[in-house]
Symmetry: C2
Subunit: 226 residues, 2 copies
DNA sequence: AAATATTCTCGTATTTTGTACGCAAATTAA
DNA sequence: TTAATTTGCGTACAAAATACGAGAATATTT
């Protein structure tokens, strides 16, 4: 009755973001065959007593030292031939972290886990490129109707930062002034006293995503749309 | 290394539609414990050499005799406690069929598999109510931006029928004239010569969904939106 | 057969939303 | 001090969504 010959893994596409760098993806180098030496997305077998999300977080911690700020189930991939060894079905997740380059190197050695800029991806093991494509598509559509973009930024951020983030994710220019208007009209940002010094030109306010306000408005039927 | 103690199943929420009845869901009565005698959504263990979609279609055929017209992966449910016997992770799908009441009774006896109107659902086994809620939410959002509503109707249908379908799925009134305008402007419907006789009032044209036209327009960046 | 009711189809007016873009204010760099 | 840069506000125009009037085609009632 049971299915002892099918194994279950979880894998995670983790997106990181740095204002100057843009979007990057966290990959690990495989130590054993098949695809020994190839880059792959982190993941591994689910243990019997842990939830799927716990499994993802554990594997990420073990293999890369990264703790994600947001985690969402993506899709399950179960093609019988996707792993040359045996039947392995994987439940793929994607995660978001801020300050990409920071947290990583502490917990692991840079040989095994690295951030790759989206435009400089190596060839990936298994069907991982397909999973990555799927994740990117999901991210692109989801930032438009759910406030998850903030998970890629620091708690406080300027209009310029979030504007640039959306331009990077969508891969096209967005009018700065209209973007601002639209975003502020949602009434889910809290403007802080502090201004962004340092850069050139007039400093802009810092903002913070007000999750409580968002949840209250969401309940009333408001829809986040960018 | 492997995970022999986790089993993998697939389950499917199948939505049927009849103009007079509205939306219904296909359920099967459980023959064995746990939850013996309770209604549940059809599904079962995945075999080693079949794809996930094949598994869904096989189980549906075996348990209910229904062949779906559309099938889409929904979400994977893996809470360690979701099955009281052992760790069973399920990959849930949802499917759509037209002429709900028709195909069912031929292949199975009505005792075991039945359509339930959405407003008259029995208490379900396991976490199946949660899966059903999830499926309904997905259906509601997806009919708005993908042309899957047609899969619930006959090949030819009137404006009144598809209009009513959307009202049922959304659970609210939609202005008939604006709905018509919007739908026709998409240019994915082929108007047929035939008119709908029989009913009261002026007969309306039959239409057919033109999939080729839709795919061509989609490639050009057109977006279906209702 | 005529009058009435029902439903489809076309059309128009109004409101809302999206887009393009000008320009003063605040700051840094020269 | 002047020039360059960036923020923040506002306005004009275009496009899309919504409300709804009314004639055409058919069935039903009288």
């Amino acid at each position: 009755m049971a299915t002892p010959n099918i194994s279950l893994t979880v894998d995670a596409i983790v997106f990181g973001y740095e204002p100057k760098e843009g979007l990057s993806v966290l990959l690990v180098k495989r130590k054993y065959p098949p695809f020994k030496g190839r880059w792959a997305i982190p993941g591994g077998f689910v243990k019997e007593k842990e939830s799927l999300e716990q499994a993802v977080e554990r594997e990420l911690e073990e293999e890369t030292g990264v703790k994600v700020n947001y985690l969402e189930q993506l899709y399950s991939f179960g093609n019988p031939k996707r792993d040359p060894r045996s039947r392995i079905v994987t439940i793929a997740y994607y995660g978001l972290v801020r300050s990409a380059n920071f947290e990583l190197f502490a917990a692991t050695d840079a040989e095994d886990a690295q951030w790759f800029h989206l435009s400089e991806l190596p060839k990936l093991a298994f069907d991982h490129q397909k999973i990555l494509d799927y994740a990117l598509e999901r991210l692109r559509s989801k930032v438009g109707y759910q406030p998850i973009g903030f998970k890629l930024l620091d708690k406080k951020f300027t209009m310029e930062e979030i504007h640039h983030l959306y331009e990077v994710i969508y891969g096209r220019k967005l009018d700065r002034r209209n973007f601002r208007k639209k975003f502020l009209k949602l009434e889910i940002l809290e403007e802080l006293e502090e201004k962004s010094g340092g850069g050139r030109g007039r400093p802009g306010s810092y903002y913070r995503f007000d999750e409580k306000k968002y949840l209250a408005l969401e309940k009333k039927g408001m829809t986040f749309e960018v």
